[in-house]
Symmetry: D2
Subunit: 352 residues, 4 copies
């Protein structure tokens, strides 16, 4: 049972409030009817107002930034952790037990500590917490989320890939041995760190793939697809960097199985997501586009036939900072607290 | 006294729902607690769902598009008019008298029909309505707006220019004879019409001025500044097209008057806007940027000293589709209906 | 034997000089040492200077635009045809026989008139010319180009797809039944026509696929791959629109065949393109990016292993307006005239 | 008399070849008929091929990067210095006397060492070289350039400002006490250093001014305008950051003087630049745009009347990396070596 503040609102801390996912949590939570933001941390900017870091968040009455060490946890009910991987596991291990922890890093996504060590280059420093972590792809994990105390929010690419793929693998309608995910991401996915590769002049007016020899989201995707397929799955996953701020488009090439046709795939996804507030299978003749979900927690899915027999194309579009990160994190908090799932996430997409 | 529907909500029609300002009205009003959208018109797309025109507005339960001629006005309380100029005056003249009309076109902004004819190339077709129209730059017109029945919402450029200039002219702190407005706008300001000049490949990776020999927003700005200065005002106004979707940045060069210094200008604006929910004078050392108001109804204002003696620089940033159009229109509706002025406009800006 | 002008330079006409491929021909040919531009047509802009249509081409001494009907063909040796498909075949059929015709439209690319009719919606109006047309993917057609009188320049997407695929199909190293081409194009590929879908505000800050149910470049790609494979080929081809002016990135998923490994594919392509001036297989550890070929006639190719066994990923990058259109057309002219192949195409790419 | 290599070509070294101006020098000089590139330095990348730093410059036969200390100056005739300010003066002071030095930094632009110290925060470390440096705004300094041994290439903003302003000040047609320069620059002007403010997500989809309290190009502009006006000049200069890679647009507000009208200003500039290969006064009805000079050494200038009496608007457009930096540097080298001034700079602009 989560405690709340005197005003009946949940008291929330955000760790790592100076990055893009931190800013997005602020944007969403400052308008969340059941939340009061009580602590925002950014160790290197401690003592500064939020507007020194994010001028767009002025006039909202937000508390100043503090160091993690200076948070009074007795007045906090829920903590969102938007810290880099590696750091996160050490910080989370030191948090008091009464907190609901919602982590946006990669630290608690991989169930197998050996797999973590292989992809992240060091032994996990809080493996004892891993078994209790709930992998929070909301639409596919509601039951576990309702009682979770540590939620590992999925990566942005894995969110866009799993929403169309998991129901089809569960239905046995696609071949788990022939899945190709060609994903295209906006630049905010690389975070706010000052890197040459993220400079405007290095990204604008061009597109390129990256991580071709192995991206850390590949094992995360495979872990979750294997659960759906009830057998190991290996995917070909190629991320691309697109000159836009936000959005992930995943173009997924699959082979139909067990006699299923493209219309069967469509029917499965329509049925699976009929009642979902944020996932929508687009009408035939329409095509998902990232600009149609910008700033919202929505995921759009389209299903198309390939020109080669037995080949289907799945297309999903999300905002990497919302459904791919901070929005899904808020959605998970709502579920874990027993609040209406859409609270704070009602905004319609911003277009153009 | 405005009528309302059975559920206590105001019944709203939007004329011209297939343009960008129409879409933006939809985005804002669909989440407005006191509004029910009952009619959306787009003559050329009548019979189609909104998602055929704006796929980002799916899943919201919006009514299908209809022709203006098919609207049942008896069930409408407020009408937003987002039609092209010229057309608007004819449509508005034919509307029933019980409606509150909020117009986003240029048709009722110029008080002098002769000035309208000079700049728009034809005699005004509803001059009898002009005297009753309230020019709705909200922060400077609250009293008149409270009882308005026809509201002429300001142009996007005039909004960004007037908010910093009017209080300073009223205070006599700047010279009305030496005002230069160098404005930079995103491309959505040109509307959704298919024009070569608005093509991606004609706009991306470049910047240029336009309308140098006379832009229609110049007489509108001058009309309003003259009221503030209590004498005729002529401004040098240069709009530029910037490769971005949204936003207007106005860099305004003024000469201080009557012994006022830059700090006096700052004090005047701070005092004038201290209690405003949407207008904010930024702290010294900060600079307004359009990305800090994106998607919001905010206006940021900065005041700086020029290098040449007696010269000050005012900088304002707005989202042209929100404070520069649809957001201000909703703000005006709220005032005219006696609702809380910020209803439906609470969203924090979207960055990045 | 092509005739030339008195100054020893080939006299060139460009039909359709007011579109993007026309402008690009002008940019390249105005600096071509062996070319004199003698006629530029644009029926709707006849009588105007080129700078009225393309202000960036000022100060170059170009002739004014004329109507096609007003060209004196006796003073022309080579004609570049940058007209829309359909129109082109009628115009070309009416040209005098002494001309070398280099066509950038789709009209003479498909060898089978029935296939043309199926994809373009009308019977071909000059089928008698089709057998004499040479499909001009330069690197793969030098012999035929040397004696060509009518050259059909490949489409932009087909150029980016064939350069990596053809040598591998010829070598039998990849499975012709399992080819997926996920292509990403800049907006100039849609031409300069004023269409809502090409507006800045509809394209910027987003990405989406299109033509999922059948793009006209698919049969062109299949026709040419079938020649290489010596059997019919069907590909899954998904184009995407990217917010950039220029460039096509093709991410191609193939299955290796006949025991070939990824290194064998690399060896084949390295060998095939070792002496090519414009095609370059990038070093291992490097990744093709469209910004690295911008403004140049270059094609970069990379070869990577997929995570799933037997899967390889080919990546190619071209500038759609240069190697994908006007540059390749100039390259073909050089070959057909016996000039040095790189003349007029020496520019290094423009970055950033 | 500059020495040359055995092949009759000038042997050129570029110091700081890993930045954007360095890359642009490479792009231009690799196609320069009278130049052989013999040494490229980048201390932190010494030993690497150029393609490791700039993949777009592959296949050009460029020498590998070396440390400055490892250059054999006996085989070098001309050195381009594209190093950061401060560093430059120390490096240049240590170069052998036989070299023609063309500096792109700010180190030798300000004639007064005290002014340098005030704006750059430290005493100049090679003040003895300053008197011999020629300020190289090419069109206004040909005589001095012909015999120069140390050329200080102007800043990008000062180039765009001076070309329209200097002839008018010399003619006494504008008021030197009322000059406002509102400049808009692409992001490459900030260089390739990894800074948060230059990240794609911080720049895209927005515009903002910067340096409002004092930009280092202001004293440079004032120094040069004062020479033209034969009296001290202070300007109001406001740079803005625009989401584009390249280009500077300067919108300059002036007051006419001594009875001159806008047409007199136009006549002066037309006359002054009539024979210039790179500077062009656009026809009436046309407007300079940065995209019309992209990748070229061109400067476009327009002259317009303001709405307020006596006010004129000058607009100039350049590519900040070409005429604003590397192109002008090459132009200066050509002059200093007695080569045709346009050699290596013949490229037409790249649009779109």
């Amino acid at each position: 049972m989560v405690r709340v503040g005197d005003d009946g609102r949940v008291r929330v801390a955000i760790l790592g409030a100076s990055g893009y996912t931190g800013a997005e949590l602020l944007r969403l939570l400052v308008r969340h009817a059941s939340v009061r933001l009580v602590a925002l941390t950014a160790d290197r900017r401690a003592g500064e107002p939020v507007t020194a870091v994010f001028p767009h968040l002025g006039g909202l009455g937000l508390p100043d930034l503090v160091a993690i060490a200076d948070v009074d946890w007795s007045g906090v009910d829920v903590v969102f952790c938007a810290l880099p991987h590696g750091t996160t596991q050490e910080v989370v291990a030191a948090l008091p037990a009464h907190l609901l922890v919602i982590d946006l890093s990669a630290d608690f996504r991989l169930a197998d500590p050996a797999l973590y060590a292989e992809w992240y280059g060091h032994a996990h420093r809080a493996p004892e917490l891993q078994p209790g972590a709930v992998y929070g792809l909301t639409e596919l994990a509601r039951e576990a989320l309702a009682t979770a105390r540590l939620i590992a929010c999925p990566g942005c690419y894995p969110t866009g890939a799993q929403l169309p793929l998991v129901p089809l693998l569960e239905a046995g309608q696609i071949d788990p041995d022939d899945i190709i995910i060609d994903a295209k991401s906006g630049v905010s996915g690389a975070g706010r760190a000052a890197k040459e590769a993220s400079l405007f002049a290095e990204v604008a007016e061009g597109i390129h793939p990256y991580g071709l020899t192995g991206h850390r989201h590949a094992p995360e995707i495979e872990q979750q697809l294997a659960i759906a397929a009830k057998r190991p799955v290996a995917v070909t996953f190629t991320p691309h960097l697109v000159p836009m701020n936000r959005g992930i488009l995943s173009t997924i090439y699959v082979r139909t199985a067990n006699g299923a046709g493209v219309e069967d795939l469509r029917a499965t996804l329509l049925r699976r997501y009929a009642a979902e507030p944020f996932v929508r299978v687009v009408a035939q003749g329409m095509t998902p586009a990232t600009r149609h979900v910008r700033g919202s927690n929505h995921c759009l899915i389209g299903i198309f036939a390939g020109r080669t027999a037995g080949r289907a194309i799945l297309v999903s579009a999300i905002d990497n900072l919302v459904k791919g990160a901070s929005g899904q994190a808020v959605q998970n908090m709502n579920l874990a607290l027993g609040l209406a799932e859409t609270t704070g996430l009602e905004q319609a997409p911003l277009f153009p």
